[in-house]
């Protein structure tokens, strides 16, 4: 102790403590774990069980250090992953303490006695924390000459996760992740002592949407992926940062590839968005790009045979340009919801400049005019600085989810909700139909309504559930609304009223990665890029100037939405269609959509793989999947998620490039030759001070239950893992999808006479599906079906929407 205070003594801010680690004074926030403080200083204490996002366990004992408190050394070395910093603590890590060093070496040796010498055949070999640490700190030879504990290996604990119990060091990261983060405690410790092992209950596989994360955080090769099994070694992989192309969360990912093929995807660490987790769809669903039906060359339909045949780019573009030029002013553009910001911008500009139309819509799903108004008035232009964010959800006192199934539609939003609710700070309410797993796992309260009755339920909140409105009144509260809301008339309007009344902010969380960006770039019939209104002359003038067009050359009449375009094409009003990545079976009326494709004089399809659209297309132009191009996704927060090209030199072109060249053929300039150029062109448009759209005001209505016998209202939404085309070619992932069942209440089953049957047959005048059913707490007179799982393809087979009346009969009877 020095008598006089040193000159540059550390200042201890409030809520902080001062301690000494390895002779260096350091200030740390109260409650911080010692292992983190040391890490911040650059002293890495070895560890296996510790993980910054999991509750401490203190199981592996690898991180032992010597601690002195108040001048008295603690009698035993302490686990630095469980002990919090305290004022006046003196810590000696392995760097300065022989005791800590010996303790760590001892634990390392003990960990290795039962670890098999598997490294050459283990998928973790080369990136294994145990291997690295054994190499860095372990003994060169083993003193253990006795019998190792053995287990049968490997055992599949789900179709995509394999468990090798011999390799396991029982750090419990996987079990803690499943129980704490995902809320799917399907794996647990079994047995005791040296026989202790990770396991699943009999016949209850590890069916979690987040199970892939356990593979990533496993510090040894105990949990490995069936899809990546024996595929490559880390030294031979190139790791490229990327952004997930599936949902609107925009998770940061790391894509590992070699020899032009993606081998695996891992979660990258982005504390603002996905922390260190991604869902299994984001992790495993990437093989679709290598499907056999991928379109690799431009194709033109042969007039004589009616078959598509390969053509050169020049020929295909010429044919397309000629047809589209002819149809100028009578062509519609359907872009789908999976485009990058740059690509969607190119479509938006292509429609306006090359086709001279506002008939463009990205919504390849049920939609409404009210939704369009909501997007134009409330969603467009929001950014993480001005709108709701992931961290905002975590800090919100109350969250209301309306027509939004977080776990199925935006899994990372679900994880944030659960994290917030688990800490006990956030109360979560769901307006939906049944207590789904997401309601349970977010410790949520369900406010059940019949499908289609959500708007009335929102309007009635203040009288029926004053605790919800009171909760939403607390600053920071949030309303999350999903894509299903477009199927409920008046819901957006009701939510805007609720928001105004309570002060809670609304976030729109679409299901697809490209939807939010498409709103921003004006891939909508009423919007130009940047939220500018088509109907507003000043806004048009701004765009005309930025695009270098003649004043007045932009079409000034708001265009048709997806339904309008389909109808117009089906009855011959529109002569040509430009379709980019739309599955007609996702549309509200697939039959009409197919008719439109058949009827239109000319269909140009920009596609990755052969589809129902290419079947009718006159020209098919191949485009690049997201790993083969650069771009930006705008996630639901409005956050820019930029990514570079992962697989270079495959020859695949992004949509913006294809459209740019096509436009040149049509004598128009888009300036979107590359994603960078497109982004630059978009940036030049800048912000606008022109008028914003007015908010929708649609009356909510009470949903009345069907009166006739054998009828029920259909509630439906899509599950995360289903028949989606981006999940094809990945059987291991498909094996963890949820069981395809219908759900209804016991009372409803009795009334409908299906309670004795094993399956239900749900039908409309379009068709029927027969499916096993389960009881759930749905309102009476309601049946729930997954949107597009297994044989249950609601839109395709039934042509029904959320809230439609359907006939329900016992399976097998009429």
């Amino acid at each position: 102790m020095t008598v006089a205070p040193e000159k540059n003594e550390l200042v201890v801010p409030e809520g902080h403590v001062k301690l000494v680690i390895d002779g260096i004074e350091v200030v740390a926030p109260k409650g911080e774990l010692l292992i983190r403080t040391a890490e911040r200083m650059g002293i890495t204490i070895p560890r296996f069980c510790d993980h910054p996002l999991l509750d401490p366990a203190g199981a592996c004992r690898q991180c032992l250090v010597e601690v002195e408190m108040g001048g008295r050394p603690m009698p035993k070395p302490q686990a630095s992953c469980t002990i919090t910093v305290a004022d006046g603590m003196v810590v000696k890590t392995q760097v300065t303490s022989p005791v800590a060093d010996k303790a760590q070496q001892g634990v390392m040796e003990l960990l290795l006695i039962n670890h098999p010498l598997d490294c050459p055949i283990c998928d973790k070999g080369g990136e294994c924390p145990l291997q690295n640490q054994a190499l860095a700190h372990g003994r060169t030879d083993s003193r253990f000459v006795d019998r190792k504990r053995t287990f049968a290996k490997p055992i599949p604990i789900s179709t995509q996760v394999l468990l090798d119990r011999e390799r396991c060091v029982l750090c419990q990261r996987c079990t803690r992740f499943s129980a704490q983060i995902a809320g799917d405690p399907f794996i647990e410790l079994l047995e005791r002592g040296a026989q202790q092992q990770i396991g699943i209950a009999e016949e209850k596989p590890f069916q979690s949407y987040f199970s892939g994360n356990t593979i990533q955080i496993c510090p040894v090769g105990a949990l490995t992926s069936a899809a990546y099994r024996f595929r490559s070694r880390p030294f031979d992989l190139v790791s490229t940062p990327g952004v997930c192309e599936h949902c609107s969360s925009g998770c940061a990912e790391r894509t590992d590839w070699r020899r032009g093929k993606v081998m695996r995807k891992l979660a990258a660490n982005d504390p603002e968005v996905n922390e260190e987790w991604i869902c299994d769809k984001g992790r495993f669903a990437f093989r679709y790009t290598g499907a056999a039906d991928r379109v690799l060359r431009p194709m033109v339909r042969d007039k004589a045979t009616g078959e598509l045949k390969q053509a050169s780019w020049t020929e295909a573009l010429q044919v397309a340009a000629e047809a589209l030029t002819k149809a100028r002013g009578s062509a519609g553009v359907l872009t789908g919801g999976r485009l990058t910001l740059e690509d969607a911008y190119a479509y938006s500009k292509f429609a306006r400049v090359a086709l001279g139309t506002n008939d463009i819509d990205f919504r390849a799903r049920p939609h409404s005019r009210e939704e369009q108004e909501f997007l134009a008035s409330t969603v467009v232009g929001t950014t993480p600085e001005t709108g709701v964010t992931f961290t905002g959800i975590e800090a919100a006192p109350t969250v209301l989810c309306v027509a939004f199934e977080p776990e199925e539609e935006a899994p990372i939003v679900f994880l944030r909700l659960r994290k917030a609710a688990r800490k006990g700070r956030t109360k979560v309410f769901h307006i939906g139909q049944w207590t789904s797993p997401a309601v349970e796992k977010t410790f949520g309260t369900l406010l059940a309504t019949p499908p289609g009755g959500e708007a009335a339920a929102v309007d009635a909140l203040s009288s029926h559930a004053p605790d919800v409105t009171e909760g939403l009144g607390k600053p920071g509260s949030v309303i999350l609304v999903g894509e299903r809301a477009a199927q409920v008339p008046g819901l957006f309007s009701a939510l805007l009223r609720l928001s105004e009344q309570t002060g809670a902010r609304i976030a729109w969380i679409p299901r697809r990665a490209g939807e939010r960006g498409a709103v921003e770039v004006g891939a909508l019939p009423t919007l130009l890029p940047g939220g500018r209104l088509v109907a507003d002359a000043a806004a048009r003038a701004e765009v005309e100037q930025a695009w270098g067009l003649e004043p007045g050359s932009l079409p000034d009449v708001p265009g048709r939405d997806t339904n309008g375009i389909i109808e117009a094409a089906a009855n011959g009003e529109l002569r040509a269609l430009v379709v980019g990545g739309v599955d007609p079976y996702d549309l509200p009326d697939p039959q009409l959509a197919l008719k439109a494709l058949r009827t239109a004089d000319f269909v140009l399809s920009l596609e990755l793989r052969h589809s129902a659209v290419t079947e009718f297309a006159d020209v098919v132009l191949p485009i690049a999947p997201s790993v083969e191009k650069a771009g930006t996704f705008l996630n639901w927060e409005g956050r820019r998620r930029e990514f570079g090209t992962t697989l270079d030199g495959t020859g695949a072109l992004p949509d913006c490039r294809v459209l740019d060249t096509l436009a040149v053929e049509m004598d128009a300039d888009l300036f979107t030759q590359t994603p960078t150029a497109a982004a630059g062109d978009l940036a030049r448009l800048g912000t606008t001070s022109t008028a914003r759209a007015a908010a929708p005001t649609v009356e909510s209505r009470q949903q009345s239950l069907p009166q006739s016998d054998g009828q029920a209202l259909l509630a439906t939404w899509r599950q995360l893992l289903d028949n989606g085309s981006l999940q094809e070619e990945e059987p291991h992932l498909a094996g963890t999808a949820r069981r395809v069942v219908a759900r209804l209440s016991e009372h409803t089953a009795e009334v409908l006479g299906v309670d004795k049957a094993e399956t239900v047959r749900v039908s409309t005048d379009r068709g029927s599906v027969t499916v096993p059913f389960e009881y759930a707490d749905l309102p009476d007179g309601v049946v729930w079906l997954p949107g597009n799982s297994g044989d249950v393809r609601v839109r395709r087979e039934l042509g029904a929407l959320h809230g439609s009346p359907v006939n329900v009969h016992p399976g097998g009877t009429e």
């Binding site: 690898q62 001892g106 029982l170 410790l189 005791r192």
Partner: protein
């Protein structure tokens, strides 16, 4: 020290009465008088009396009970719980189960007084699952006490309510560790919890909880009746009170002997009729297998918390296991280690893997296949387990090995000698 002056039994005074376990016998022999007295006092006063008496936990660690009770929060924001640790599983320890068999009401009375002192309205007795007879007797006693108004609502008209639940464990040694016991009681996997939070802050169902040993709680009624000064007249200054010594092994009359703390083995052996068949003493444990062993030179070590610690061991549960010269130390140590390997819960690496390894080395040695290096390996592995494990199980597991090698290294070496001769390498490679 030649003559033993056995104190009048306190804890065991009713054990030999006919039907000692019935409430009638108990009531006849001053049963439930302490409870009546206690209910007239305030909880704080009772805690103070227990503090003054110097009663220390009888489960092994010897933590002052009054102090432990005073950690319970004074308010009742959350329910408070008293949990009795009756998961007696330590090799050699056999005091709590006889106590509960012979005199269950003394425990129940203690529970009511202690619960009242800690403002708890629910008390759990976690009994080891194997002792079915004892569980039945406890359940019957709880029923009797309830019928007599010593339990349930408005006990003896005082307005104080208490429920006692007798819970049968599933026979895991680790559940004698207080936090593992709480997890097990909650229906989880019995594995020790991270501390802090300590049970007094967040124990059973995350509510303030005190976990006490059976004998500790059974001592409480006598303290209330006799007063702290009376209690302090027995035993030593820092370890007052009577204690049940469980003497097993090679003595003429093994069994439970109540004596004040600080009694020596020499005195205890006299009480137990001396060594069996006169074969001399070789080694013994003062408090179960987890306490380092003693030898004949420790006959006069006063068996209280301080005395045992000074002599390099621990008082533990005063389970005195006596071994005569016919017993091989490596063999006994191997058997104990096999127990720990079987009972290690598996949560932390040192205990799980350490006991797995130690057993194999010891088995090899006892089979005559050990080497001198194995002794060093044993000691080094013990060093890597001791103080490195999550709970005290690991510490307990290595103490027989360390103390065994400390006092009887020659025996271990002798085993290796045999092996060395057997496996002597020919002087020239390939010459055999």
């Amino acid at each position: 020290m030649s003559t033993v002056d056995p104190v009048t039994p306190v804890l065991t005074k009713r054990w030999l009465s006919p039907r000692s376990w019935s409430i009638q016998t108990y009531e006849q022999l001053e049963g439930y008088t302490a409870l009546r007295k206690a209910l007239t006092a305030t909880p704080e006063q009772i805690v103070q009396v227990v503090k003054d008496s110097g009663l220390r936990g009888r489960g092994g660690a010897g933590f002052p009970s009054g102090l432990k009770w005073s950690f319970m929060p004074p308010n009742e924001d959350k329910p408070h719980y008293l949990v009795i640790n009756a998961d007696e599983g330590e090799p050699g320890t056999c005091k709590d189960i006889p106590l509960m068999m012979a005199d269950p009401h003394s425990l129940i009375e203690g529970c009511v007084i202690a619960s009242y002192a800690m403002r708890s309205h629910h008390c759990f007795i976690y009994v080891r699952g194997e002792v079915l007879h004892c569980i039945r007797r406890l359940n019957a006693a709880v029923k009797e006490a309830k019928a007599a108004g010593y339990l349930g609502e408005n006990i003896l008209g005082s307005g104080y309510d208490l429920e006692i639940t007798v819970h049968a464990g599933a026979g895991a040694y680790i559940c004698g560790e207080e936090t593992a016991l709480l997890d097990s009681l909650e229906g989880r996997r019995g594995q020790p919890r991270l501390k802090p939070p300590f049970p007094a802050a967040a124990g059973l169902y995350a509510a303030p909880t005190t976990v006490n040993n059976v004998e500790t709680i059974a001592s409480v009624p006598y303290i209330i009746n006799g007063g702290s000064d009376w209690f302090r007249r027995m035993g030593t200054e820092k370890s007052p009170g009577p204690k049940i010594y469980s003497i097993s092994g090679h003595v003429e009359r093994p069994g439970q002997y109540e004596a004040p703390l600080g009694t020596t083995l020499r005195q205890l052996l006299e009480m137990a009729g001396g060594m069996k068949d006169g074969i001399p003493l070789k080694f013994w444990t003062p408090g179960g297998s987890s306490t380092p062993m003693f030898t004949a030179e420790h006959l006069d070590v006063p068996l209280d918390f301080e005395g045992a610690a000074e002599a390099g061991s621990m008082l533990g549960t005063t389970a005195v296991q006596v071994f005569n010269e016919t017993v091989s130390v490596p063999w006994a140590v191997m058997k104990w280690t096999q127990f720990y390997k079987h009972e290690s819960c598996g949560k932390c690496t040192p205990c799980r893997e350490g006991t797995y390894w130690l057993v194999q080395i010891l088995e090899r040695m006892v089979d005559g296949n050990g080497t001198e290096e194995d002794i060093d390996t044993l000691l080094d592995v013990c060093d890597n387990v001791l103080g490195r494990s999550f709970c005290a199980l690991g510490d307990g597991a290595v103490s027989p090995i360390q103390s065994g090698i400390k006092y009887f290294r020659d025996e271990f070496l002798a085993l290796c000698q045999k092996n060395r001769e057997k496996n002597r390498k020919p002087a020239m490679a390939g010459a055999n």
